[in-house]
Symmetry: C2
Subunit: 275 residues, 2 copies
């Protein structure tokens, strides 16, 4: 599908939410009645989507969880994307894939996830910056599609290289933000910025004041929504805040979808208060 | 499958080759008679494998090329891996996947590609280092399997961040090499080091003298085998040199497999002379 920056902003205003629901679907954590059912992963996702769509603006399937299930897992992802595409309600979709390779190879990854004629047709995908310009720009060639570039991630390992300062004292993640402005713009590039270091959002906003930021790590990973908003919001909102485990595994009983909906609405209400 | 460091060294000595054949299989570049045939990608790969296996020690399917074909492409990859696994001749397999994410997600990517019970059961996979320790270590948990960590890649974009010097004048790729020694060892970790900057292999060897290096970029990307050997060989060989397009697309006629075999043998003979 396609969603322009303005359409995304409008959707955020309409739903009074900038919540992204992470579909990190793991059969071992699904309710027992779905675990061994045919298309159980898709059925789980569909129930979560139906229960949360009025409280969120984006879904982010984490590719690893589907790939871990082999070919069958990717079929479940396709079923999920097909379901999202036929919904009457618009929603932004993110392939959390963390891809990136030399130019001719990144072209293929872009085709795999963003091509409107492909099996998945996501609106956007997450990209790792280590290999530089020609590993990122192939993802910007599909009109109306988005690159979401890793800048500062929410894990401990972020400290290994992302905060390494160059000779001028600029940490690598800021260099990534700055350099990437030559590769895309506010209409086709967002950034992953982890919530566990919310005060660093001030530095991020200095470099990319108008860009959308995808913020993982709220909830299970320990980040605070309040802190993220304080440091990350801009005049157009400019944030997509992701929650995965806190929503989709709120219960592993028959009430899992209802409980997921409740957790999503709790976050949505906090977001509405901020907007 | 599983291949220990010593088994890989023995295989290199036996075949007098350290060639890795990159299976970047693109239907548009395949011979016309295979393009629209059922399982054409697999049939192409099988013919390439049969024609090259005596001249090489490794195959490296590039995941992007299979993912670009959707679910069907991944089925072709599975058929290819199933074929390799039933061969009587041992060969090392590399999932060129460039993955890496927070710990619980990297675990899933490891399961997808390395798990002996999974659909693919590769010996190794390529990993991007940007997210640090906990994004890499989950790939080392499968006994006898390998992480191949990106250090210095062969593309232009490598100059964007990989060569950025920190306050002590250490380029990022050297910091990656150095830091990663806490995450693995010579028995479970190799490095991607591009061939287009062969003299930098001297610096690489200072930091990881005994590790295997996977060297892409010989051939189509402009690297020279002679230069790579001069700067990269160690007492156990310590190199896997990849060639993709130069071998698998040597011809797009009916003779494609024969021509691929010839190109592989040319490289193998140069390698035999060096060993």
């Amino acid at each position: 599908m396609i969603m322009t920056r303005q359409e995304l902003i409008d959707l955020i205003r309409e739903r009074k939410s900038f919540l992204c629901v992470g579909l990190d679907t793991d059969p071992a954590k699904m309710p027992e009645h779905l675990r061994n059912e045919r298309d159980g992963v898709f059925r789980f996702n569909r129930a979560i989507i139906d229960a949360t769509i009025d409280a969120c603006v984006a879904y982010k399937p984490n590719l690893a969880f589907y790939e871990a299930l082999g070919l069958e897992g990717l079929r479940q992802l396709k079923l999920t994307m097909d379901y999202i595409h036929q919904l009457k309600k618009p929603v932004f979709t993110i392939a959390d894939a963390k891809r990136g390779d030399i130019g001719n190879t990144s072209e293929r990854y872009a085709k795999a996830f963003l091509d409107p004629k492909g099996d998945f047709n996501f609106d956007s995908m997450t990209i790792a910056p280590y290999m530089g310009a020609d590993s990122v720009t192939p993802f910007t060639v599909y009109d109306g599609k988005w690159v979401i570039l890793l800048a500062l991630t929410s894990n401990k390992g972020a400290f290994d290289f992302q905060l390494t300062e160059d000779r001028n004292g600029t940490p690598l993640y800021q260099r990534v933000l700055d350099t990437s402005k030559q590769w895309g713009n506010e209409e086709n590039m967002m950034y992953v910025v982890g919530a566990t270091k919310a005060e660093m959002l001030d530095d991020v906003r200095r470099i990319v004041p108008n860009s959308f930021l995808l913020v993982p790590g709220v909830g299970a990973q320990g980040g605070s929504l309040e802190e993220v908003c304080k440091h990350g919001l801009n005049k157009d909102c400019g944030l997509l805040v992701n929650s995965s485990r806190g929503i989709i595994y709120a219960s592993n009983g028959m009430d899992f979808a209802d409980r997921a909906g409740e957790e999503a609405r709790k976050l949505q209400q906090q977001m509405a208060a901020v907007l």
